[in-house]
């Protein structure tokens, strides 16, 4: 890494981001889904401090987001449709459906951009119903992560970002392309460079106010709600490549 003239460079800033284990629940036995929308959600998470990544030292600007998972099986002899409604604090964010082939498992992966900016105390919930009571659900999980991290409007040099796949669930299988990239933002536009290497090093960059240094793929760069189905994989899930360490040296030049 090149030496920087200390007359225009501030001290190196280094942040470490630690992620908790995802909040997972496997029911003792599958629960049949209703054939019409239930009055109360089967799945509910209240975001608490235990769900959140820890940034050390404090001072890094970022946005929180989350991925939710819900998995079960269509035990019927025919293809069935599984419907969902995703809610935040009682308000509908999204609704939709997916077809699940006979006998197969399904996993809803909920990573919509509407979860950007979640905070402690938010209640995220999912209602599930299906075209047959022979469809069940048995597994739920929640994982929170940071995106849009870093300063804005300041030229940075000696940038390093380390990343890791997250979450790694205790059961199931990551889906194809899961956890492939983190998106480095060099302009405040809705695109960037997807990188899977770790660490990522750059001589200089200029993060701006909307997307800052880097963005998660699922839930930010790509707003996604998708049901993966498989004959044996469950959960069958997307994961992100999340930042675990960020360091840079700001210049005194502001843009």
């Amino acid at each position: 890494m090149a030496n920087v003239d200390c007359r225009i460079a501030r001290a190196l800033q280094s942040y470490t981001i630690t992620y908790p284990s995802p909040d997972e629940t496997l029911l003792a036995s599958p629960q049949a889904l209703p054939t019409s929308e239930p009055a109360t959600p089967q799945i509910e998470f209240t975001i608490g401090p235990q769900h959140l990544p820890t940034v050390s030292p404090a001072g890094l600007t970022y946005t929180l987001t989350a991925i939710l998972y819900a998995a079960g099986q269509n035990t019927d002899g025919a293809q069935q449709t599984v419907y969902y409604r995703l809610l935040k604090n009682g308000e509908s964010l999204n609704t939709g459906s997916a077809a699940v082939p006979a006998g197969q498992y399904y996993t809803w992966n909920f990573a919509p951009s509407t979860l950007l900016g979640i905070t402690v105390g938010d209640v995220l919930a999912v209602k599930l119903w299906a075209t047959s009571a022979n469809v069940n659900w048995r597994y739920k999980a929640l994982a929170c992560a940071i995106t849009r991290a870093g300063p804005a409007g300041v030229l940075l040099v000696n940038l390093n970002i380390s990343t890791t796949p997250y979450p790694v669930l205790t059961r199931g299988n990551p889906a194809q392309y899961g956890s492939a990239y983190i998106y480095l933002q060099t302009e405040d536009k809705n695109w960037g460079s997807g990188l899977s290497t770790s660490p990522i090093s750059m001589r200089a960059t200029l993060p701006l106010g909307t997307y800052r240094l880097c963005r998660l793929y699922y839930g930010d760069f790509q707003s996604t709600i998708q049901a993966w189905t498989h004959v044996s994989y469950w959960p069958y899930y997307y994961a992100n490549r999340v930042p675990t360490a960020i360091s840079f040296r700001p210049l005194t030049i502001r843009v």
Partner: protein
């Protein structure tokens, strides 16, 4: 393929109703029998449909279709 329709023509259906969600689902699957799944976002009033290539014309009944690939 992922198809996106901003401000889809859903009336008189109300996506706050589970019955209407199922009605829309049936209509979409009648129009595109190979449809994998779909999602409606309340905040941006956008319908996203996952289906094999060639579904644009069948989905045009709900509005202007863009293909995300």
């Amino acid at each position: 393929m992922r198809y996106t329709i901003k401000h889809p023509k859903l009336a008189p259906l109300n996506m706050d109703s589970g019955d209407d969600v199922m009605t829309l689902d049936a209509a979409l699957r009648a129009a595109v029998p190979t449809l994998d799944g779909w999602s409606y976002g309340f905040a941006d009033d956008t319908l996203t449909v996952d289906a094999p290539p060639g579904a644009e014309a069948a989905l045009a009944a709900w509005g202007e279709v863009s293909v995300d690939g």
